[in-house]
Amino acid sequence: MPTSSSIDRRSLIRGTAGLGALALVRAFPAWAQSGSAGLTPAPGVLSGEQIALTVGESHFQTGGRSAHAITINGTLPAPLIRLKEGQNVRLSVTNSLKEDTSIHWHGLIVPFQMDGVPGISFPGIRPGETFTYEFPIRQSGTYWYHSHSGMQEAMGHYGPIVIDPAGADPVQATREHVIILSDWSPVHPHVLLKRLKQSGGYYNMQRQTLAGLLAGKDQSAKERLEWGAMRMDPTDISDVTGSTYSFLVNGHGTAENWTGLFTLGERVRLRIINASAMTNFNVRVPGLAMTVVQCDGQHVQPVETDEFQIGIAETYDVVVQPVEAKAYGLIAEAIDRSGLVRATLAPRIGMAAEVPALRERPLLGMKDMGMDMSGMDMGQGGVIDLSQPANESMAGHSMKMLDPSVAPQVKMGPGVATLSPMPADRTADRPTGLENVEHRVLTYADLKSLEPFKDTRTPSRTLDIHLTANMERYMWSFDGVKLSDGAEPIAFRHMERVRVNLINDTMMPHPIHIHGHFFQLVTGKGEHDPVKHTVNVLPGGKVSFDITADALGDWAFHCHMLMHMHAGMMRVVTVRHEGEAA
């Protein structure tokens, strides 16, 4: 905490002094430039049926940190692609890197061979080559695109996609801005991953200390011993933190203060995309309520909130209505509170909203370990009294953290350090760190799709998938098996409807993404269960979704925390006609 806040202060001073100089070496597409009037009218937006993109290498700096970046058409973030539902598009992507590249259209329903995952949907784009993607646009909403090669996404290879509906847009807004959130480190992502393999807690500079204990902070000595006995760290919220990351809005750090303009009285639509490699954010606009109107590109019944957590790769469209002609801060705070980024919504350029102090770093608790105590008296403030005598009344169900009988399908071994003994459905829970904030916080249970879902069949079978890990060895997997271990594809019959249960056996949230499909999050809203492409499964919790396997072909399915995916938390999902298995 002292470290990150002092960095923030330093970079703030430097940034203010050197803003002019910074601008010279920073290239942004028009929509991402500070002082943007918004998307309409927006110069430099890529539209139409023929779009050319060139992936290349550039230099990037923010807040005093600088390094090589991977850019598209020379900018970070990449250009905005704005399309219209019903059109066809040809996107020719030229690779000017010295390594393979690719573009995956995140959330777009495309033929699988156009999905852009090297090794699954196509061979990738080799250096010097141009690959042309071609597909019809069958949907509308806010999406994004990014590399699926190496860890280029962590180096800047991401950009927004906005698709206008063929008919009238149910969202009434007079102005709109794209807000791309990301994390940026001058350290190459392969080195970040190497450090985590060498020392799982390498980037955590907010661990519990003896000084903290003496000052009465964090857990009590007794709790620390109990957690120590299990070799579990309640401060393990994020793997890669503000100790190396700068957090960005449209490529701008707090010092560079990305500013989006509004005129008083307007309804301003913010299309918020979390394009981070490793950071889940808490998003708020202090002083303004946000009305959530879309999630993952799918319209939802408008719901008002004051703060929401956006998992990596999710998108949220919110409408805000400024009530004063002043600067409003758009605050995206890393969920471990190791840093934040402030952007500004203002009536004119040159105004800067206040930078709020980082809130206290959250501590993980019993529920994050997969011990759902909801049926029990939690005592004051949710504290569990472990001094109660042990008891065998739970039909032999013990509170062991690694009891293989709770997950027979998981391959036990060095890669599985814990199994959630009693995972709870946490879709109605406030996410990590927002449990006790005093304003409204969005949960998945607040989302209702605007239109009833087209497929109302009851799923014909269930599929459990465990999210498994060993933080100390930095191993991440599904069902204890890494993709590289020769994991079999997850097979679906074409058009079958399946209930998928994701069980998080780790103490970290995992934004799980399936390519080529949307699923309905089972939250008890029936045909209005929210429709998503990525779901953040809270620590020790579980999520159920119903999926209609309507897209033939092979698809990627993975945790969107880039380093988790690269550690093996990934599968191939394959959809075939019944009986087609070779």
Partner: protein, 314 residues
């Protein structure tokens, strides 16, 4: 948290307990259970919730399947690759191999000099080093270890190198096997090594190695340490090492039984995780015949040093 003295004590008892720790069932189910199991009957819960909880616990089933959705049968995964209908199978095979390697199959490595230190005490000043490295994946690794010491301006007194194969056997421990060669003292000697190392409950780093030399003498070394974070960067590390020999080895000055014990306390400051200078004290005591051999050789059986050094890795 733990007072340093208590930590030291625990670290030193963690060693002898290792034989037991090698038993998986002991480790996984004994030590990892919650310190105290929840007493559910003691809490009054609404009847309805109780029965729901009972259902869920009885078969460990997910509430999702409570909705009457059958487990069903998954189709057999196909063996072919859909993209080969559109792209060259050779190109797909190349990119698929790269993708599989990239998502879980990468090779990593680490080189660490845990201690590189100058020792001040009675008599001549000395130096000491301890380091290790590894290369490999998550489970299988090639590793080496080295340690040694000498007097400033004097000859190298001891220098040991180990080459090991290391295999992760559970979430916390690695089994290791290989060879050790001692360049010093004279006569040089080679050993076969088998050992275990890892992270014990309460975050103790522990290790045990058994050695069998080409001359037939057998030895056991137990080590433990604990990192107590005083602040995010200031870390106090108590450490202990015990050497046990199965027989006298007079030419190496080793007596049978508990031959020596070493305790250290080092305070390091992590300017970066990879670079941390430290100050500390180190106490070594030779016991039994080892002590007798040392005295006969004109050395003291007990040596206390003030140490300063640096820990670095990459």
């Amino acid at each position: 948290m733990l007072a340093p003295a208590a930590a030291l004590l625990l670290a030193s008892v963690a060693g002898p307990g290792l034989a037991q720790k090698m038993d998986h069932s002991q480790m996984d189910h004994g030590s990892m259970a919650m310190p105290q199991e929840e007493d559910h009957s003691a809490h009054e819960a609404p009847a309805q919730e109780n029965s729901a909880a009972d259902n869920a616990h009885a078969g460990h089933s997910m509430p999702a399947s409570d909705d009457g959705i059958p487990k069903g049968v998954a189709p057999a995964p196909p063996k072919d690759h859909a993209a080969e209908a559109y792209y060259s199978p050779a190109e797909m095979a190349r990119s698929r191999a790269a993708m599989l390697k990239e998502n879980g199959g990468m090779t990593f490595s680490q080189l660490m000099l845990d201690r590189l230190e100058y020792r001040l005490g009675k008599g001549a000043d000395g130096y000491h080093w301890e380091g290790e490295g590894w290369i490999g994946g998550d489970i299988n690794r090639l590793a080496f270890k080295t340690e040694g010491e000498g007097e400033i301006g004097g000859p190298l007194e001891s220098a040991e190198v180990q080459a090991l194969y290391s295999r992760a056997i559970d979430p916390w421990f690695n089994l290791e096997a290989g060879v050790r060669h001692d360049i010093r003292p004279d006569p040089q000697r080679s050993y076969a090594v088998i050992g275990i190392e890892g992270l014990a409950p309460y975050w103790f780093e522990v290790g045990a190695q058994a050695f069998l030399s080409t001359k037939g003498d057998a030895h056991l070394r137990l080590e433990g340490s604990y990192d107590q974070r005083l602040t995010q960067r200031l870390i106090l590390q108590p450490a202990a090492e015990v050497n046990i020999a199965a027989q006298d080895v007079p030419e190496l000055g080793i007596g049978s039984g508990l031959s020596d014990i070493e305790l250290g306390l080092r305070l390091r400051y992590e300017f970066a995780r990879e670079f941390a200078p430290y100050l500390g004290v180190n106490w070594e005591r030779k016991l039994g015949d080892s002590a007798r051999y040392a005295r006969a050789h004109g050395d003291r059986a007990s040596v206390t040093s003030f140490v300063m050094g640096v820990r670095f890795w990459f």
